[in-house]
Amino acid sequence: MGIIMTFIVYGVLVIYLAAGVLYLAGNRTGREAVHKYALIAAAAGCVLHFAVLSMRTALTGMLPLTNGLDFLLTFSWITVVTFLLLSHRFRIKAAGGIVMLMSASMVLVLIILMKGRLDAVSPLMPALKSPWLTTHVITAAISYATFTLAAGLAIMQFFPAGRAIKDDYVNLLVRGAFALLSLSIVIGAIWAEQAWGRYWSWDPKETWALITWLIYAIYLHLYNRRGWSGSYARWIVIGGFLLVLFTFFGVNYLLPGLHSYV
């Protein structure tokens, strides 16, 4: 099982990279057909990615949400799925290259950190045995994925090919992601009160989730002011995404606390 899964994950990585390159090529040549191939590749990668998620679920008997690596696997998949769904409705295809490369990097990091342990199974530790687990982590995963997309679009806005990407698209994504992050933090706090006896203990994960939340809150308050949409707003969205990454990787690997289940 482990070998098959590792093989598929490498496949996903290669396909995402290919899709990313095709999207970029589509931007360059301006040919719709190239974007269509990119879309097909991304969708194929997404299906394989889903196969890995299903295999993890079958192996552990739980949704792949209970540790940092499963979280990464899920959240990179949601990033791609959401992008594909949205690019169907909104004019954001130009960001496909960046978004696919971002997702590919997450899969790459997963491969490096997993060291071939894709079939590792360990039972839930007592603190994680709670009905809050699924809602807390799913909201966080969708939120992170949406912040990733928003950052991808914001980066693309700096390039001529991204002209069709409106500030309002980015803003809409940030709003959604912000709401989900808020839900995840509130649920996390309710859970922490039951599991650890305190709803807020300035554990590193709590602290950095709050910092991330604060920065996006500032962005949302400034957005409607004159002069703030445009380049300032883009930079905050990109900076906020770096905070998301730090909340995830930095806290899991550099600042261990109650929340380290890597």
Binding site: P123, K129, I190, I211, L214
Partner: protein
């Protein structure tokens, strides 16, 4: 008068609020990197949170007239939902902050250790109105097949004036909630039983990890270092799991202040400490560690959290305004 007005406007302005958010973010970041734990107790940091509370309260009050006009008129529109959501969201944050302040003024949290059969009068631990007693009937650790821990469970009886009024199983994620006092399964520890002779008496009693024995017939002293439920020489002090698959006691023998040696002993294997001096470890008992807490601010904080969550959902679902939505339609 005008100066007062200016000060009020400054304190309640959104700009001030945003600067406060930024400062809190920066301070929290610095704190988590350089001074974890203690940082958030620093008065200057608490002051920032208080200022935010003040700013948000004033800001909400200031906008109340406008918001209420909208809420009284355009029922059901996007704008209406957005304003309602925003109001709930900000009220929610205020409640959470107030709940936190109430905890920091009136809240109490203490840690208790209980061996099976022991009891504790909670009113001696916390300053509460209705005293009651917790008695530990049993503490057990349950395991998964691979030996990892599945749950820690303290079976307790609750007594009031000597009469049993309830019983509960406190485990991780399932705290006891009795008359506003909550008790959480936080940790556990071991008490090792040893048999030896001291002052001419044959002794058999329990010792906490780290305790010293002074057996007769020698100057040497024995320190009970640690109980290892599943001992593996390769891992030394780190038990493989908590399941007692190979229980051993790690001890060290001292002469004056010098360590003569460190050993691991199975239960009931007499350990030779000196000529004709033996100690044997006969068993182990685990005790539970519970955190007991009284937080009168908790209901407020919880209500705040729910309002916050509800409010933010409304705000997002009601956004964007119809004008923006049209712009978001794919262009041909």
């Amino acid at each position: 008068m005008q100066a007062m007005h200016r000060i009020f406007n400054f304190i309640s302005s959104m700009k001030t609020g945003l600067v406060l958010l930024l400062l809190i973010g920066l301070a929290a970041a610095a704190g988590s990197s350089f001074l974890p734990r203690t940082f958030y107790q620093i008065p200057a940091f608490k002051l920032l949170l208080l200022l935010l509370l003040l700013n948000m309260s004033l800001c909400t009050v200031k906008r109340f007239r406008q918001t209420s006009r909208i809420l009284l008129s355009k029922t059901g529109s996007r704008v209406w939902f957005r304003n309602l959501g925003s109001l709930l969201l900000h009220l929610g944050i205020l409640l959470v902050l107030i709940g936190g302040i109430i905890y920091s003024i009136h809240g109490q949290q203490e840690r208790i250790h209980l061996l099976p059969g022991q009891q504790v009068d909670i009113s001696r631990v916390l300053n509460i109105e209705n005293p009651f007693t917790l008695r530990l009937e049993e503490f057990r650790i349950e395991f998964n097949e691979d030996g990892s821990t599945s749950q820690y469970i303290s079976e307790v009886t609750i007594l009031e004036q000597g009469k049993k009024t309830g019983q509960a199983a406190i485990s991780v994620n399932h705290p006891l909630n009795y008359q506003g006092v909550k008790a959480y399964q936080t940790s556990f520890g071991y008490r090792v039983h040893a048999e030896y002779t001291e002052n001419g008496e044959k002794k058999s009693s329990g010792f906490l990890e780290g305790a010293w024995l002074n057996p007769d017939g020698t100057d040497r002293r024995v320190k009970i270092y640690k109980y290892i439920p599943d001992f593996d020489p390769e891992r030394g002090m780190n038990s493989v799991t908590l399941r007692p698959d190979n229980p051993q006691v790690i001890f060290s023998v001292y002469e004056d202040d010098n360590v003569l040696g460190i050993g691991a002993a199975k239960f009931n294997d007499p350990v030779r400490i000196d000529e004709n001096v033996y100690v044997s470890f006969t068993g182990v008992e685990s005790y539970t560690i519970l955190d007991v807490k009284y937080d009168p601010g908790l209901p407020l904080a919880l209500a705040g959290g729910m309002l916050l969550a509800l409010g933010i959902c409304l705000v997002v679902l009601a956004a964007p305004s119809p004008k923006n939505l049209r712009e978001l339609k794919p262009q041909p």
